[in-house]
């Protein structure tokens, strides 16, 4: 990495603001930035390399586009080895995902993490320019996938994958593609039906208009017959094509004996079609084909909109298994062979190299290493494990190569169980009884009752009008605007939310937000900034240069925080280059080294005590203070004497106190649910003024899910806000899971709502929007049902004319659409980045 060397060498302050942003990914970087290139600061070498690459290829327009499309965040470029991506070259991948295309190319689709704006699309579709051999790249923003066509003779797919990762989009093979394709096919079929129904209803209306005008101004009999015949043909196409769905729906509703909106629709369609055919053959009587095909169209359109919203909700769950590697290095008779993880069995021995993740749960039989278990515990600091210790699938080996004995594979492994739990939680989430279905059910019974009553009445007093009245009644009573009411309101709210950087998957999340329940917040990264800092300093200034010199050797987050702080407090003093010797780390403990012949120790209590350091009264007092403030204590010792203590922690987000207060005012209970040390969590809870019954610390992912479940058993609707992989299960279990920007991809997949900005004021908007959406839906129902009742009244007394029926239907639908468009679901904001503060709608 010679380029990186030169970058580090040019240490200069890019600009004078206290905090600046990485020029590639926009992450906050403290000044002076460690990595500077082209006078711009970078957060990591990966980003810097990505920036260099883009500018070298003349693609710096990416940054401009990103600004223009107002996307605040970018992706961290990451160095990924060819080996990690080798599964893209494997035989099974080729068999399942690669299809040949014309001109010797191959085609595949890959899921990428972190595609979020037009600039991403632009950049990724420039792949042919960046990587010779790639012929085309087509991005789907909605699905975060890219479809690649490449020339296998020039470049391998794994090489392409590595280059994509370098840009900051980590590629994954797509799982569950078959299922997705199936749903996509269903949606396409539905859309085609909506199109056919629309064309039929449009043409039916034209023909009907001609007939009505003919009635007014006179029209010769043969022309009337022609138009009626054409109208019948078009109408029957609509009823027997797209309209067939309703007959099927009605049949299954009858079988399960549940009143469903499909029943009156099917009855109306059947009666309308039969009497229409009869009247056409007879040459007189009313035709209702325009109303009927319009009915079919409007209902199908509403259903399509709803199905489309749900499609993205289904798109989520297959990803968790992507966290485990698909290949494992099995050791047999002293020889290593690469096999797919699926063919691993209990008792096998596998070797896991540094940087690889474990393919199965097991225990170490040889070697000693550090494991990053963030996936399971949320703890970002690696844990030391040695022979006999258990390791878990999906966690990452950060130390050296080890061998493990496989004990649990696939779905039996801990991560596999988590995946199953997430899927179950999402499926078992009590489905909302759709307001529309409930209302429609009652309405159906009412309409059928009125129809029977009318028929009975006519039988005795007006036997000649019986068919006409019943038919017209059934047709006008069909609440087609009812079918539009919910999907319209929800899709508008979803669109508005997306413009505000809140991505909502599936409309039921919005509806669930209408009821006030409990909001559970995760601590790190959600309530706090997640950037570790020195917050308490009880170390004399003259010791700082030594501390900085020692900690500079480590890339541990706490070490970085110490170096940053040291550079600021000790200023020039720390810049003097002291070279420590015999530096030694103890993972999960601290660092040891000698400077100018003196022994230094920096670390946690257990570490310094194990080195024979005795803590005195005031040290212990400091430790208690730090813990009370939500910080972890760090001890510094020189020559076996404790010289000071430090409190390391992260800050509360600046707006979080206001957000919590506003949420409470809006009727929510607010709680804290975290995997961190209970004392630290309790301290943060106190700072926020939370009820201590609603503050939980030290929770594993499974525990978190249980907490959520317990609350749900108390009939509280639970909104969980989190960002880590370890929150994923709780996010899926909660009634509404909200993932915050910057979180792990898996948590985004498990959650129903994704906040693009780490700004929690969006939560307030969301809760308000949930209520308003429900209100808008109710208004729509009211409008639609009043039209129907009015029309039924007319039909009963025999005043209805097909023209009135044909007119009422679009008018009621237009009213619903108009009322929905006019309603302001999200609270208005003067400035898009600031909340209104008031909770009035």
């Amino acid at each position: 990495m010679e380029t990186n060397q030169t970058i580090v060498a040019t240490r200069e302050s890019p600009d004078n603001s206290h905090r600046c942003r990485c020029a590639h990914c926009n992450a906050e970087v403290s000044t002076p930035a460690e990595i500077v290139f082209d006078h711009k600061p970078f957060c990591c070498h990966g980003c810097c390399a990505a920036y260099q690459w883009l500018t070298a290829e003349g693609l710096e327009q990416y940054y401009e586009l990103r600004e223009r499309f107002n996307a605040a965040d970018g992706n961290r470029g990451a160095e990924v080895t060819l080996d990690e991506m080798s599964e893209f070259d494997s035989a099974w991948y080729a068999q399942q995902h690669i299809r040949p295309v014309a001109s010797n190319g191959l085609k595949t689709k890959i899921y990428l993490e972190g595609i979020h704006c037009a600039a991403c699309v632009w950049l990724l579709e420039k792949m042919p320019k960046l990587v010779p051999g790639v012929m085309s790249a087509q991005v789907s923003l909605a699905r975060s996938t890219v479809e690649l066509i490449w020339d296998p003779a020039k470049v391998s797919l794994s090489r392409i994958a590595v280059e994509i990762a370098r840009l900051g989009y980590r590629p994954h093979p797509i799982r569950g593609e078959a299922k997705f394709e199936q749903r996509a096919k269903d949606l396409r079929r539905q859309l085609a039906q909506v199109g056919i129904a629309f064309a039929c209803s449009g043409n039916s209306m034209l023909l009907a208009a001609a007939l009505y005008l003919g009635e007014l101004y006179g029209m010769s009999g043969e022309h009337i017959q022609l138009l009626r015949g054409a109208s019948t043909v078009v109408g029957l196409v609509a009823l027997l094509g797209p309209g067939w769905t309703f007959f099927k729906g009605a049949a299954s509703a009858l079988r399960t004996r549940t009143p469903h909106i499909d029943i009156p629709v099917a009855v109306a369609l059947a009666v309308g079609a039969l009497s229409g055919i009869w009247n056409t053959l007879k040459g007189s009587g009313e035709l209702y084909y325009d109303s009927l095909s319009m009915l079919v169209f409007l209902l199908l359109a509403g259903r399509y909109v709803q199905a489309r919203q749900q499609q993205s909700a289904y798109d989520s769950l297959d990803i968790l298994l992507q966290l485990t590697p698909r290949k494992a290095r099995r050791i047999r008779d002293g020889k290593a062979e690469l096999i797919s993880s699926e063919s691993l069995s209990v008792g096998d021995t596998i070797e896991v190299l540094e940087g690889e993740s474990f393919a199965a749960d097991g225990s170490i039989i040889q070697g000693r290493t550090e494991v990053d278990q963030a996936l399971l515990t949320g703890e970002t600091l690696p844990v030391v494990v040695t022979t006999g210790d258990p390791v878990f699938a999906g966690t990452v080996n950060r130390g050296s190569a080890i061998r493990i004995r496989v004990e649990q594979v696939g779905e039996d492994s801990r991560v596999g169980k988590l995946a199953t739990t997430i899927e179950k939680a999402a499926v078992m989430r009590t489905p909302l009884v759709q307001l529309a279905d409930r209302l429609a059910g009652r309405f159906v019974i009412l309409v059928l009752f009125v129809a029977v009553a009318t028929a009975t009445y006519c039988y005795f007093y007006r036997p000649d009008a019986i068919v006409d009245r019943v038919v017209s009644l059934l047709i006008v009573a069909c609440p087609c605007a009812l079918g539009l009411a919910t999907p319209m309101a929800i899709s508008l709210a979803l669109g508005e939310a997306a413009r505000r950087g809140i991505l909502i998957r599936g409309g039921d999340a919005l509806q669930r937000l209408a009821d006030r329940g409990v909001v559970l917040l995760d601590k790190t990264g959600t309530v706090t900034t997640g950037d570790v800092e020195v917050r308490f300093d009880h170390v004399a200034k003259e010791y700082w240069p030594a501390i900085v010199a020692l900690e500079r050797k480590s890339s541990h987050p706490i070490a970085l925080a110490l170096v940053r702080f040291g550079n600021e407090t000790a200023e020039h003093a720390s810049r003097t280059t002291i070279e420590p010797e015999q530096v030694e780390y103890r993972s999960g403990g601290g660092i040891r080294g000698s400077i100018a012949g003196k022994q230094w120790l920096i670390g946690n209590r257990a570490f310094v005590e194990s080195e024979g350091i005795v803590l005195n009264e005031s040290n212990l007092q400091h430790q208690a203070d730090y813990l009370a403030a939500g910080c972890s204590p760090v001890f510094v010792a020189c020559e076996h004497k404790l010289i000071g203590t430090l409190g390391i922690g992260d800050h509360l987000r600046s707006d979080i106190v206001d957000v919590v207060d506003a949420l409470k005012k809006a009727g929510w209970q607010v709680g804290l649910l975290s995997g961190d040390h209970p004392q630290v969590v309790a301290a943060v809870g106190q700072q926020l003024g939370l009820d201590s019954n609603l503050v939980w610390g030290g929770k594993s992912p499974e525990d978190k899910q249980q907490v959520v479940q317990q609350l749900q058993q108390q009939k509280l609707s639970v909104v969980m806000v989190g960002d880590g992989v370890n929150d994923a299960v709780a996010l899926a279990q909660a009634d509404v899971g909200v993932a915050v920007k910057g979180g792990a991809e898996i948590s985004l997949q498990a959650a129903a709502v994704y906040l693009k900005n780490a700004d929690l004021t969006a939560l307030l908007d969301l809760s308000q929007a949930g209520r308003n959406t429900i209100r808008a839906i109710r208004r729509n129902f009211f409008a639609s049902i009043s039209y129907n009742i009015f029309a039924v009244g007319l039909a009963v007394v025999g005043l209805i004319h097909p023209l009135i029926a044909a007119g009422l239907m679009p008018v009621s639908s237009i009213t619903v659409v108009g009322v929905t468009l006019a309603s302001q679901v999200f609270p208005k904001r003067a400035d898009a980045s600031k909340p209104t503060g008031t909770q009035k709608s």
Partner: protein, 61 residues
Amino acid sequence: MSVIYVALPVALIVAGCAVVAFTLSALRGQFDDLTTPPWRILLDDEPLPEPGDKNQNTPVP
């Protein structure tokens, strides 16, 4: 007015063609993704070198 005997079937056939076209495009997935293509159209395109063409004699846009 007997032109209607020609006009009506013609109109219905034209409408039928439109329906067939829409149905085919819907079934082939052209309406699957409604977010990316509208953006793609806004992004300036640069002519790419022909696959296999090493000279890179692309005109500067």
